[in-house]
Amino acid sequence: MTPALDNDVRDPDDPLTTKEGWRRFVDYQPEPAAVLTAEQQFALTGRQRAEHDEARREYHAELPLANTPTIRQVLGTGRLLVQLNRKQVSARRGLILSGASGTGKTTALTQLGRTHERAVRRRHPAGRHRLPVAYVTVPPAATAKMLAVEFARFYGLEFSARANMPDIVNAVCATAAHTGIELVLVDEIHNLNIATRSGAEVSDQLKYFAERLPATFVYAGIDVEDQGLFAGVRGRQIAGRFTLIASTPFAYGTSEQRTAWRSLVSTLETMLRLHHHRAGTLVSLDEYLYRRTSGMIGSLSQLVRSAAILAIEDGTEQITRELLDLIPVDYAAQRATPPAPRQRTSAPAKTAEASA
């Protein structure tokens, strides 16, 4: 028999919310770009130099992820819940990741899924049809049918407009069961407002999926505790079954917090592949970087990645404070930017706390 066509021949623009896009995300292992010596650079032809620079621009555009405390907490708790839920037939426990935009919720959620799927693949190397993780997002103003269609779309199950809800839900549940579902990731859960009728129906639909699918459910959304997700009877049931992990910006008050921030900056800096960048430059700018980004990992990542690309383009090949000044950050980080901390005096601990 001829093997099925490779999934890689599919549209490269498949989003993460399809099995093809998800598989590509799980498979992807970025290779660090090479840093050449001066002699090696000199030996390059113009074309080779352009290719080398382009490879490094691409590498910096998707700089590998730093393992933040939130990611570690989500991975630890999430994988533990999967283990605990494996033999449960109902009332499985779940996880909710809540926090402001730019604090790395989606990154943590998808890393949990990626880590789990890779672990399952190691356990079942021959499981060609196995899809242990499903990733969906709650569409804005979602209805229960829209949510069911999102699940169906992930699996590649197409339905005509006249298809009814039970048909779609049954197909999703049958396919998920046949492909070994273990973990369901639901992002943008803040789009669900259980105070409205359609929002309540979506919540009920999610609960129905959670009852029928032998999987652990993990939700992520913006400040979900303030959006009423835990209000009312439905909310109390969610609160009783789900562990909440807060995804917060990094703080810069205590020495431990500053050390954690510096460690993150240092990790990002070690990933840079710039020819003239001096190690330790970014770490020495930790306070400046904190003020620019308000401790939000998404903003920090954007700032450093943008600076690296600009440094390659303008040939300076190093990130400096002057270069960073040229790069605008997102509005949320800009708005939240705290004033420059006062100069430290003879009482550094107190001064640091005052600037937090």
Partner: protein, 67 residues
């Protein structure tokens, strides 16, 4: 472009198209009519009758047309 079904099973030797599509639909918990709609096309633009379209079936299953 049609989405590909996640469970790719090949047709059995001499299996009819209708039987194969039924088997695929059952495996994915789908009503036969929904899957048939995806893997067939009308004989003529005005026709109600549909026949299996090998290219569509290949796209949905990921198994090349010659099978």
């Amino acid at each position: 472009m049609h989405s590909r079904l996640p469970i790719a099973v090949a047709p059995a030797q001499h299996e009819t198209a209708a039987s194969y599509v039924t088997r695929l639909a059952t495996l994915h918990g789908m009503p036969f009519g929904e899957l048939w709609q995806q893997v067939s096309r009308p004989r003529t633009p005005e026709s109600q009758a549909r026949f299996i379209a090998a290219d569509r079936l290949a796209a949905v299953t990921g198994i090349p047309e010659e099978h």
